[in-house]
């Protein structure tokens, strides 16, 4: 899939997979539909992070801040104002992208780890405000029971709505990565000095990547509210940011759909292992260590390398 989203060779499996996803809600129980929807939302968040981390090489350590900003903006407009719902849908991602622009503008002048730390400080600032501003955000309780339009009231309709939006977002993300902009971004990741020398405005490209990624994180945030109908400060907490980071690694950094696979693994682990034992983070930790030792490119990265290796191997023999 990493080679051609629109190629004939990958078209058939992708289309088959899509058809399965389309008919699934009619077959499986409501709870599983809900989990799938959650996977879509978290997957979109991980995809948006991978744009800056995997392709941009930036230490985007506090990506969830933007996810949370999108979710909170959406929730606050729905509960505190009488504006129509579509305004909230537009405002969530835009708010996230605006905050992304401000934070990104402050961060891009710093290097590597310092970039990440400044972002964590700024993100923690947002978290602390959301955590303490009881009169507006509900403090550590958050906001619950956010009203949804009748169209999105059932989990099945939310499922289709989110699936369609996810597909649109994925296509846009794919086109961005295939565009000259995406290529420049990867070039900056691999050799920033050389890019600077040939006249690429490195900081501007990084900033643009951050704004795009935060916009998609904002979309994921609003969609989270559509599924959960609540917001709480943990959405903005740095632990969740690291978790999303791990989803990217789990699935595979340098593959296009890897992060979604990682998100699916993480969400299912939490749901199914979490239902079985309260010590599910222990199991996630052990899996993570196994992954670091044996599959450092992530599951999908490993599979792709393996299949390529096989092809090269058989060609050599023939």
């Amino acid at each position: 899939m990493s080679k051609g989203f629109f190629g004939l060779k990958s078209f058939i499996p992708v289309a088959g997979f899509l058809i399965i996803l389309l008919i699934l809600p009619g077959i499986i129980p409501r709870f599983y539909t809900y989990i799938l929807t959650l996977i879509f939302v978290t997957g979109l968040l991980a995809m948006s992070l991978n744009l800056v981390v995997g392709h941009g090489g930036l230490f985007q350590f506090h990506h969830c801040a933007f996810y949370g900003v999108g979710a909170y903006a959406f929730a606050l407009i729905l509960t505190k104002t009488s504006l129509p719902t579509w305004v909230a849908f537009v405002a969530g991602p835009l708010m996230a992208a605006t905050v992304g622009l401000i934070i990104g503008w402050l961060c891009v002048r710093l290097n590597k780890l310092y970039f990440g730390m400044l972002q964590i400080a700024l993100g923690s600032l947002i978290w602390a405000v959301a955590f303490r501003w009881y009169s507006l955000t509900g403090g550590d309780d958050g906001i619950h029971g956010i009203p949804m339009p009748a169209l999105l009231d059932s989990i099945n309709s939310a499922y289709y709505f989110i699936l369609i939006l996810l597909l649109i977002c994925l296509i846009v993300l794919y086109l961005i990565l295939k565009s000259p902009f995406g290529l420049t971004l990867r070039a900056i990741r691999d050799n920033p000095e050389r890019c600077e020398t040939v006249g690429v405005n490195v900081k501007l490209h990084k900033l643009a990547a951050i704004v795009i990624a935060t916009f998609f994180a904002g979309i994921a945030g609003t969609l989270f509210v559509v599924v959960e109908r609540s917001v709480f400060p943990d959405l903005l907490f740095w632990v969740f940011s690291l978790e999303v980071f791990i989803m990217c690694l789990l699935g595979g950094w340098f593959t296009f759909p890897g992060p979604i696979l990682g998100a699916a693994m993480m969400v299912s682990l939490r749901t199914f292992v979490g239902a079985y034992t309260e010590y599910w983070t222990l199991i996630v930790g052990v899996i993570l260590i196994l992954l670091i030792f044996f599959l450092p490119e992530g599951v999908l990265g490993y599979l792709i390398r393996k299949s390529k290796g096989l092809r090269v191997g058989s060609a050599g023999e023939g």
């Binding site: 402050l106 002048r109 710093l110 290097n111 780890l113 310092y114 730390m117 400044l118 964590i120 400080a121 700024l122 923690s124 600032l125 602390a128 405000v129 955590f131 303490r132 501003w133 009881y134 907490f237 740095w238 632990v239 690291l242 980071f245 791990i246 690694l249 309260e278 010590y279 983070t281 222990l282 996630v284 930790g285 052990v286 993570l288 260590i289 670091i292 030792f293 450092p296």
Partner: protein, 298 residues
């Protein structure tokens, strides 16, 4: 939003002292993190978990010894050693095999370690809140500048500088301390002159974790010991180390002072948003001096 108490000179002084004693705890914890960061170049995300284990071990040891003054003092010595043992096991069994790998992998390993240690603590000590009493000599409060001030915080104000002096002596006057400092600056060279770098790393990691455990043991009579205290401290510790200058021990001290004092003055000014102030200070400092206040070893 209500403002804090009226700002008087005694109130200012007592907040300053509370901030300073909070900074001492932060310093003990962050100096350990800074040490690991300097020598191994790895932000140890599990540092907070080791701090938490230190606090829980202090609780168990002092309860086991009857909860008296001697119990607490023994806990203060033994709990950091327990933490050092835990970190030694983690380092020698798993972590040491990753030194040749990419940096991000090391970071992720420490995150995995945090997840595992967090759940192990939950298994061993359970999810309840725990608390221990300070020894009798350090209970109650003394009057400083006309304001009542907890004795235990005064004790911390003595311990903090002692730890700083001890660390300075250790890293400047002992052989292993000098080697560790050299490894922080140029690890290839240290390896080239025939020193076992892996062992130096192991030592630095365990020593840093020991300091985390000491911080946890020191903080144990002041707070309710509970799971989740690892998450609370580790990000603050990172930010402190960053604004101080990565790997610089004195930077950890400067950063801790900034963090502790802005927080306690925040309580004085705007109690509801007190936790916002230290983050604001970090943002201002990083924008003003992008690589921290003091020279970083990176």
């Amino acid at each position: 939003m209500d403002l804090g108490q009226t700002i008087t000179i005694p109130a200012l002084c007592s907040h300053l002292l509370v901030g300073l004693s909070r900074a001492m705890i932060l310093f003990v914890v962050t100096s350990g993190m800074s040490f690991v960061l300097g020598v191994l170049r790895v932000p140890n995300v599990a540092h907070g978990s080791l701090y938490m284990i230190g606090a829980f071990s202090a609780f168990s040891i002092s309860t086991l010894l009857g909860g008296g003054s001697t119990g607490f003092l023994v806990a203060l010595v033994l709990a950091p050693l327990v933490v050092a043992l835990v970190s030694l096991i983690a380092e020698r069994s798993l972590f040491c095999h990753l030194y040749e790998r990419e940096h991000l992998m090391l970071l992720l390993f420490t995150f995995a370690l945090m997840l595992i240690l967090g759940d192990l603590v939950k298994m061993v000590w359970g999810p309840d809140y725990r608390s221990i009493m300070a020894p009798e000599l350090l209970r109650g409060s003394a009057t400083v500048f006309g304001a009542p001030f907890p004795r235990y915080n005064l004790f911390l104000l003595i311990i903090g500088p002692l730890v700083a002096i001890g660390l300075w002596l250790f890293s400047n006057k002992t052989k292993i301390g000098k080697i560790a400092r050299a490894a922080a600056v140029d690890r290839e060279m240290v390896g080239a002159i025939g020193i076992n770098v892996s062992r130096v790393f192991a030592f630095a990691f365990v020593f840093g974790c020991f300091l985390a455990g000491l911080g946890g043991a020191l903080v144990s009579p002041m707070v309710s010991i509970t799971i989740g205290m690892d998450h609370d401290i580790v990000m603050d510790a990172f930010l402190i180390v960053t604004i101080g200058g990565l790997g610089n021990m004195w930077g950890a001290l400067v950063g801790s002072l900034i963090f502790g004092i802005t927080q306690s003055f925040g309580v004085l000014l705007l109690p509801q948003f007190a936790i916002v102030f230290p983050y604001l200070a970090v943002v201002v400092i990083l924008i003003w001096r992008p690589t921290g206040m003091l020279k970083s070893v990176w």
